[in-house]
Amino acid sequence: MINDILLSSNKAKGRRPYFLEDKAVERVLNITMAVASEVAVMHERLDTIERLLGSKNILQTYEIETFTPNPDEAEERQRWHATYVARVLRIVQQELEALQQDPENNRSMEDIAEELGRI
C-alpha cells in the first residue's frame, strides 16, 4: 500500500519560486488558499444537500432564507460565531496581549533559561 496522503502533497522536482517579499507570508497565503478551497467544497456539499431535501419536499430553500431563530437559538448561534472568529484570529489576540502585558510576563525563554541556570 502506498501512503496516498503524503504522496498527494509531494513537492515537484525543481526549486519552488517564491514571489512575496516575505516567504512566511507566502506560506500563510498557500495555507489560506487551501482552506478557502475546502470552504468552497463544503459549500457545494451543503448546496447539494439543500437541493436534495428540496426535491424530496422535506425542506425548501425559502424556509432556510426566512428562518428566524428564537432568542435562545439566536444567542447560541452568535456564540458560535464569536468562538469561531476568536479561534481563527488567535494569533492577533495573542500579539495584542503581548503588547499590553507587563514585560515581566512576556520574557523570552532564552532569558528565563539563563536566569534559572544562574539562580
Partner: protein, 404 residues
C-alpha cells in the same frame, strides 16, 4: 459627468460534471468534483481579474520607474522579469497562480492516488482486450530533459511508476486538463487534435494519410481525434512515459478507437523505417524537449516522412522582435514558474530555419493559427468577451511543411 467603466460579462468556466468520462477515468467523489470546480473558478478569476492588472502595474509603475532609473526603456524580457519582481500586484498574482497550480496537482493526485491500485487494475483489464496495440520497450530511457525536473509541477512527472502498472499521474493529468484549461479543450480535452485534423481536412482535401505518427503523444488526448478523423489510417502515438502510454492506450480501448497504437519510443531516434509515415504530428510537445533534442527530432521527422508527406506542430506563438517585451515576459512565466524550462528557448527558435535544417524546402513550409474545437461551449448563449491570458489560452500557432 459620471464616468462609466465597462465591466466584462461574468465568464464562468463549465462545471466539472461536463467532463467526458470513460471506463478508465478515475472515480470522483462529490467533494473531489467540487474541489475541481473551485480550482477552475480560481483559475478563471486569476486570469480574468487579477492577471490583467499586471499589465496596468507594468505600464503605470514598473516601466516608468525603470526608465527614470536607467534613462532608457527595457531592452530584454529578462530586464522586465527582474524589474517586475518588486511590484506588489505582480507578486500577488504570481503567488496566487503558483499556489493554484500546486493545489490543482494536489487535488488531482489525492483523488487518483487513493484509487491507484483500482486504476492499475482497470488499465490491465482494458489492455488485455487489445494487447497488441500497446508496445512498451524497457530499453527506451526517460530523456534527460524530462528527468531533470517535474514538468508542470506534477510530482513524479510523466514517467514515475509508484508500483508496477501505476498510472495515477496519467489519470491525474487526464482529469485535471479540464480544470487548468477552464474546459476550453472540450469534454475529452481533445480540442487541439480536433483543430488540426479539421484544418487538414479542409485545407488538404486530397491528402489521404494511411499512416500517421503523433510524437510526444502523452495520454493520447490529441492523438485520438486524428484516428477518428482518418478512420482508414493507422495512427501511432509515441512517448517515453510508460504510465501515460498504458493509461492512454486503455483510454483509447475504452473509447472504442481501434486504429491507434501506442509505443514507448523516443522521438529523437524511433527506429521506424525511412519514408514510412504520411503525416507526423506534434501537439504542445516541442517546448518540453531541448535544443539538441529538437534538432534530432526535426531530422528524424524528415527521415520518416514519405515524399509528399505532411508534418505539423502545434505550439504557442513564437516570440518575435515585434512582440512587446511585457508579453514575452508573461508568456515566459510558466517556463520558470510552472516547470517548463525550455518554453522560452523553444519560442525563440526560428521555425523556418528549424524546418529547413531538417530538410524541408522553404516554398513548402506552412504556418497558420488554430483555435481549440470545444464541445463544452453552449452555442445558444452569447459569448462573453475573452480576456487575453498570454500563453494560457487555447489559441495556437501551427508550423510545419510538406516534404516535396
Amino acid at each position: 459627468m459620471e464616468s462609466q467603466t465597462k465591466t466584462p460579462a461574468i465568464n464562468l468556466p463549465p462545471v466539472y460534471s461536463l467532463i467526458g468520462k470513460h471506463d478508465v477515468f478515475p472515480e470522483m467523489s462529490h467533494d473531489e468534483t467540487a474541489r475541481y470546480n473551485f480550482l477552475a473558478n480560481l483559475n478563471r478569476h486569476l486570469s480574468t481579474v487579477v492577471a490583467p492588472a499586471n499589465k496596468i502595474a507594468f505600464e503605470k509603475r514598473v516601466q516608468p520607474n525603470f526608465i527614470k532609473e536607467n534613462g532608457r526603456d527595457f531592452q530584454t524580457r529578462d530586464e522586465v522579469k527582474e524589474a517586475i519582481k518588486h511590484d506588489s500586484q505582480y507578486q500577488t498574482w504570481a503567488a496566487l497562480r503558483r499556489s493554484q497550480m500546486e493545489m490543482r496537482q494536489q487535488a488531482g493526485r489525492s483523488m487518483t492516488l487513493r484509487q491507484a491500485e483500482d486504476l492499475a487494475k482497470k488499465v490491465a483489464e482494458l489492455t488485455a482486450k487489445s494487447p497488441n496495440t500497446l508496445i512498451l520497450n524497457e530499453n527506451v530511457k526517460t530523456p534527460y530533459y524530462l528527468e531533470i525536473m517535474d514538468n508542470h509541477c506534477m510530482p513524479g512527472s510523466y514517467h514515475t511508476e509508484l508500483f508496477e502498472g501505476d498510472v495515477s499521474n496519467a489519470a491525474n493529468y487526464d482529469s485535471g486538463l479540464f480544470v487548468t484549461s477552464g474546459g476550453m479543450l472540450g469534454k475529452l480535452t481533445d480540442g487541439g487534435g480536433k483543430a488540426i485534423s479539421s484544418w487538414v481536412i479542409s485545407n488538404a482535401p486530397n491528402f489521404k494519410p494511411k499512416r500517421i505518427l503523433d510524437i510526444g503523444c502523452g495520454l493520447g488526448h490529441n492523438t485520438l481525434p486524428l484516428a477518428t478523423a482518418f478512420p482508414d489510417a493507422e495512427v501511432i502515438g509515441i512517448d517515453t512515459g510508460v504510465p501515460m502510454l498504458r493509461y492512454g492506450h486503455a483510454r483509447a480501448v475504452a473509447l472504442g478507437i481501434t486504429n491507434v497504437k501506442f509505443m514507448q519510443l523516443n522521438a529523437e531516434d524511433t527506429g521506424f523505417e525511412n519514408e514510412s509515415f504520411d503525416w507526423i504530428q506534434s501537439t504542445m510537445f516541442l517546448h518540453e524537449t531541448s535544443t539538441k533534442a529538437m534538432q534530432n527530432i526535426g531530422s528524424e521527422i524528415f527521415r520518416m516522412l514519405k515524399p509528399n508527406g505532411l508534418s505539423l506542430h502545434i505550439e504557442q506563438p513564437q516570440y518575435t522582435p515585434e512582440m512587446p517585451l511585457f508579453e514575452q515576459f508573461i508568456r515566459d512565466w510558466d517556463a520558470f514558474n510552472n516547470n517548463e524550462p525550455f518554453w522560452g528557448a523553444m519560442h525563440e527558435v526560428d521555425m523556418t530555419k528549424w524546418l529547413m535544417s531538417a530538410g524541408f524546402k522553404k516554398e513548402h513550409l506552412l504556418q497558420f493559427g488554430a483555435k481549440s474545437i470545444n464541445d463544452n461551449e453552449d452555442h445558444t448563449k452569447p459569448k462573453p468577451v475573452e480576456v487575453e491570458d498570454h500563453g494560457r489560452t487555447a489559441i495556437w500557432n501551427v508550423f510545419g511543411g510538406w516534404k516535396k
